[in-house]
Symmetry: C2
Subunit: 323 residues, 2 copies
């Protein structure tokens, strides 16, 4: 299976690494919008300008789109679906129906297959919600995120006057996790579910008290949470906060009969969020390749893919090993 | 969707209850091998002899086979697949390939669709293993069972001379669970993973020390484990050990790159093992109904079913709610 990567940031690099862990996959080329002279790949695979992608039609089985949801994918998704079967991680929740529709039309017209909104949330977590709500129909869903770095919240802090760098960890509240697994099926406020733990490098002359107040009162991002702010040096930031861990919990708590509680839970503990997301994208690229080879076209999501297609193993082998 | 139940034990009763939690399903009839005069259903649905099932062809969309794997399903599986689309929980691991082949042939010839080996293990746990091994290909799988009642082990104790009743709980070892989620990917011996906790009602004149020795040294069942034996009264057995709780953990622990650990985990905490299994069977009966309506025939497993088909909701609604 020949893979192409579009976008060579953290996620694209993750896909490149994931290919090395999946012997049935092979990386054909990496495409970037940057000046290609400035970019060399870790694996030695050619890095080309996105405008050259059309020349690779027929030479790449699945193109993994690694751009962001805000500006890259709304353009690249439909554009690449004209030429290739694709997988992407589009995660702007409110715009998924519109994005799905557009990709579906393009892919059907072009005879390609495009799997959208893949990764871990949306993605693996969506699958857990789908399975759990089907097998425990009378129940309540809980999703907790973390402990992990939220890029959006880190960026929001960086925009505060006097802040040089920042890292924000989202942390699920232990008591809430425990309660979600119990017999009561409680409702939680935003504040009860997650803590926000911030590490900030301030400018030499900055007013730290003012920065702290501005962070913890920031609407949408922090004002609804219990937030801690710790000022650290640039060195400490680099040394202790360079990784991008993440994870979380999907819990379904319900009853199959009066007073008979059933709890299902899926959790992820990820030392690298982008590498795990990339690894999920590659597994689904395999499924897209198989389904596309059987003539399937249009847009699909993780909810349309049987798990047997995610593996390089035969159905017989999977039944023998997994059932 | 009209459902039939074959076998009215704990599992069959669980399916009957599950139907009441799934408004798009309707119970048409229950079939039993027993003398039908002696059996009345909780829901008031007719209880008929299995020999009458053929008369219900066309009146039942999916037949849920609730017999045991040892003697019932090897006969009933192929027999019912001749007449109906079916779902069953066949779990004799070593015989699954043979069973699959037989059912597949019968169902193809008969134009029916039969989903075999469904429930939670095999079933939900198989799905977790499939997904996790696809998205973390370089890793190790751990499965832990419990805390829960093992019927097989309880039965084994009941066969010991002087034992009137027994209940055996399989309990995962906390330290092993913690280690399985850590950075070392340890190998465990059988003894290191699970404890066996036994509650025994002995006959008045029985030699309890002898019973205890016989249990803890029983090959295959107990000799490889740390086993505790507690003698209790019949009243206490009835009062404290009548429920059939179970559950467990599937953990995949691996790396997406050197030294980058990723851990995925699915766990179930079930107050009623048969009710949960039944609820899973019914969700898959829905998928069988949909796939069969689209012309699919033969034998399939949970690995062949996209999660979108498990729900009564439309694909649009699922994408909106779950992604």
């Amino acid at each position: 299976m020949k893979i192409g990567i579009v976008g060579y940031g953290n996620l694209g690099k993750g896909v490149e690494t994931a290919v090395s862990k999946n012997p049935d996959t092979q990386l054909a080329a990496i495409f970037t919008r940057r000046h290609t002279g400035t970019v060399t790949s870790k694996s030695g695979v050619p890095v080309l300008h996105v405008d050259e992608a059309a020349n690779y039609r027929g030479k790449i089985d699945v193109m993994v789109l690694c751009g962001g949801s805000a500006t890259d994918l709304p353009l690249q998704g439909p554009e690449f679906a004209k030429l290739f079967s694709t997988v992407d991680s589009f995660d702007t929740h409110a715009k998924i129906p519109e994005y799905f529709k557009k990709i579906d039309e393009t892919a059907r017209e072009s005879g390609t297959l495009a799997l959208i909104s893949c990764g871990w949330d949306p993605g693996v977590f969506s699958l857990a919600r789908a399975l759990f709500s089907a097998v425990i129909p009378d129940g309540v869903d809980y999703t907790f995120w973390g402990k992990g770095v939220s890029q959006g919240h880190s960026d929001a802090i960086r925009r505060v006057d006097g802040v040089i760098d920042a890292r924000q960890y989202t942390i699920p509240v232990e008591e809430a996790l425990t309660a979600a697994r119990g017999n009561q099926r409680p409702e939680f406020s935003t504040r009860q579910k997650h803590l926000r733990d911030c590490y900030v490098v301030a400018a030499m002359d900055a007013n730290k008290e003012k920065i702290k107040e501005e962070i913890i009162n920031m609407p949408n991002y922090f004002s609804d949470y219990d937030t801690t702010v710790t000022f650290i040096s640039e060195e400490e930031m680099k040394e202790k906060h360079s990784a991008l861990p993440h994870g979380g919990f999907v819990i379904r708590n319900g009853e199959t009969d009066d007073g008979v509680t059933q709890v299902a839970e899926l959790s992820l503990k990820l030392e690298s969020n982008p590498q795990f997301t990339a690894s999920v994208l590659l597994a689904y690229a395999r499924a897209v390749y198989k389904m596309s080879s059987e003539g399937k076209t249009g847009a699909i999501t993780v909810l349309d893919v049987p798990f047997g297609l995610l593996s390089h193993k035969s159905p017989e082998q999977l039944r023998k090993e997994l059932l």
